[in-house]
């Protein structure tokens, strides 16, 4: 969890902890676990295979389901994608603050509760097994091109200190606690999911990292 939270953990949950209040409540009953298999490639993975896997990873990362909450230092989540029509900032004047969890004004968890139950109600704020938040500010994806996101994702300075194995582990851990990646592939409530399945995404991450995390030109 520490890795996932990154900067937000330092700025946001630290404040909460210091105050002795909790954002996180019981998340209710668990539903069936997501079974993922790490399919390690036999032999070397070529740059071409790695780049093809990256293209699919980019399709996921840049999909509104994921990118809407990977926004810049203005800390404003976005509403974009087929469920929303016109792209616009999250309604209700929402700003997640530097904490990225909204503690500076109103915590995201005021409406987005923490629960591993499926999301079933259209227009209701979605929930996951993780405290709701924007991704750490260094993981900006919204409106970014494939080279930019690729360079960020393979840079431990800007990806939560992860190497290739760490990126794969991040997906596995997310599935365990039913956090945001898991939700992205099964958002419920009539929302369009990120393309592919969680297993496809894991396969692509294994392939891309095994290929040495190649990025499309011109990033190299």
């Amino acid at each position: 969890m520490k890795k996932t939270l990154g900067l937000a953990s330092a700025l946001g949950l630290g404040v909460i902890a210091a105050m002795g209040v909790a954002l996180s409540h019981g998340s209710g009953d668990d539903d069936a676990a997501i079974d993922l298999v790490v399919n390690q490639p036999e032999g070397d993975v070529s740059r071409e295979e790695g780049l093809a896997a990256w293209d699919r990873i980019f399709a996921v990362a840049s999909h509104p389901r994921c990118a809407n909450c990977h926004t810049d230092e203005n800390n404003v989540p976005m509403w974009s994608g087929p469920s929303y029509g016109k792209t616009r900032p999250h309604g209700m004047n929402i700003n997640a603050g530097m904490s990225r969890i909204g503690i500076e004004s109103m915590p995201c968890t005021t409406c987005h509760t923490q629960s591993t139950k499926p999301n079933t109600i259209p227009h209701a704020p979605p929930h996951t097994g993780h405290v709701w938040m924007l991704a750490p500010v260094e993981f900006v994806w919204f409106g970014k091109d494939t080279q930019t996101i690729c360079a960020q994702m393979r840079d431990p300075e800007r990806n939560g200190g992860r190497d290739g194995a760490g990126l794969v582990e991040h997906i596995l851990h997310d599935a365990e606690i039913k956090a945001f990646i898991t939700w992205g592939f099964n958002p419920g409530g009539g929302r369009e999911p990120a393309p592919g399945t969680m297993q496809d995404h894991l396969n692509d991450m294994v392939t891309w990292t095994a290929a040495g995390m190649p990025c499309p030109d011109p990033a190299g």
């Binding site: 409540h25 409406c111 704020p125």
Partner: protein
Amino acid sequence: MQLIVNGETVDADVEEDMPLLWVLRDELNVKGPKYGCGIAQCGACTVHVDGMPVRSCSITAKQVEGAEVTTIEGLGTPDALHAVQEAWIDHQVAQCGYCQSGQIMSAAALLAIYPEPSDEQIDRALSANLCRCGTYPRIREAVKSAAAKLQGA
């Protein structure tokens, strides 16, 4: 199931997935939190769970088991009003009143963390509490008065 509501431990014979708002209003007769939308879109049902503002229509009884739930009834009493309630009366904030217990709970939660909130913080904290009567200018002034009162206290 045992819940802690306004400092009292209460037994509620409810399904675990019953929304807290239903438990409060229909089972425990705590009518301060209001039903507006039922899907965390309006804020009328706002309560505190361990001091944090939460839309009670969208959290289940099970999720708040063991936590301190505070409704507007537990924030202050007519004899000993919370500074926010007092400020709300001074500024005559309410119009129809339907949204106001939610507004007050959100404002009290903000002030508990930020004793001197900026206008921007006040607006951000309360914009998701919808007021169809448009009492926002008075809300902002009342939050500032309450902040001053709490500072002086």
